[in-house]
Amino acid sequence: MDGILALALENLISPIILFFALGFAAAFARSDLSVPEAVAKGMSLYLLFAIGFKGGASVAAHGVYATLLFSLLAGVILSFLLPFIAFAMLRMLTGLSVVDAAAVAAHYGSISIVTFVAASSVLSSAGLEFEGYMVAVAAAMEAPAILSALWLVARAGGPNGHGGGMEPGLLREILLNGSIVLLVGSFAIGAITGADGLSRIESFIVSPFQGVLCLFLLDMGLVAGRGLRETRGLLRPGLFVFGVLMPLTGAALGLLAGLLLGLSTGGVVLMMTLSASASYIAVPAAMRVALPEANPAIYLTLALGITFPFNLTLGIPIYLAVAQAVTGG
């Protein structure tokens, strides 16, 4: 317990957390600090490019692990499954409508790549290795949850009698989402070009990575803070409880999956983090197209304003401590 606290504290005063906090505070204080949209999108392209490539290069270096396929499968199953748990929890804890609850549930089945990146950088600081293909697992978990959510709505008769059928082309649109394509593509290129490729672009994707992450989290803090400030009214206690309880529940399932797969300690932490995190890029876009009746303020506030900061500050250290205790690593 002492270890967790120390770890949490150390984590709390790392530059990336502090820059997130700076953004959050600036937004609450109504500072006009802001990152241009194009720059924020450029940084997110950089992060996907770098994390994907490094994952692929690491797979190339260590050989294809026997567990790769099973891990992908486990990720897909988790992503399908988690929305049902989230949906049940929401219907118990909150008064959300079926459509709103399903939309929120989709976000928690999917993943947040920045939370993943933050966890992997905590692992590096702690000197823990992890399976390079976890990046591919992350990509595999982005989309399935969306289908579960649409099924949940269809079962309930669809939004306002619109039926819940999926518009043709939507599935393709979800799977070819820009961030999935870049992440998977960079992973593949990293795997193909291996150590040789990595050596050519290392000084672009490795050394400046932490610095870019700091600036990116500053922006995330600004966005989360602004969102939270403007939708304060929405956050009834039930939602708040859900925003903290659901990541812990997800992490527990991720732990189970990681142990069954026999992942390294680092790999288990990442599996927990993925399950615990909530999407705020791919899923919101899909929801606007497929379930426009769902209120975006609810799911964005929960995912970005509650669960993301929770994972960043307390969640990741907890997952690390638990994984170390359980695996003995």
Binding site: E37, V223, R226, A285, P292
Partner: protein
Amino acid sequence: MQTHKAKRVEITIEAVMERRLSEALEKAGVKGFTILPVLGGSGRSGRWSREGQVSRASGMIAVVCIVHPNRLDPLLEAAFAVVDRHIGVVSVTDCDVVRADRF
């Protein structure tokens, strides 16, 4: 200069719906349109601003479409089929254009 009557339709709609709207307009026989970026706005669903969107999800665009008055109704029907379930605003203004055959 010799001018002709036309209609200027302005559709403010979520950016994620751009492809669907432009396909619908093309199907409705609209010969051209222009897409303008939107920085932010306010409406029943509150205040939003593009700076501070991590997500493609919540941005909006404005589509301006100049059409011959005869084509207004099919255009509006096509647009509303898309806008209907979505956040958005449609307004129509009278205008004059020079080369009528283009609209």
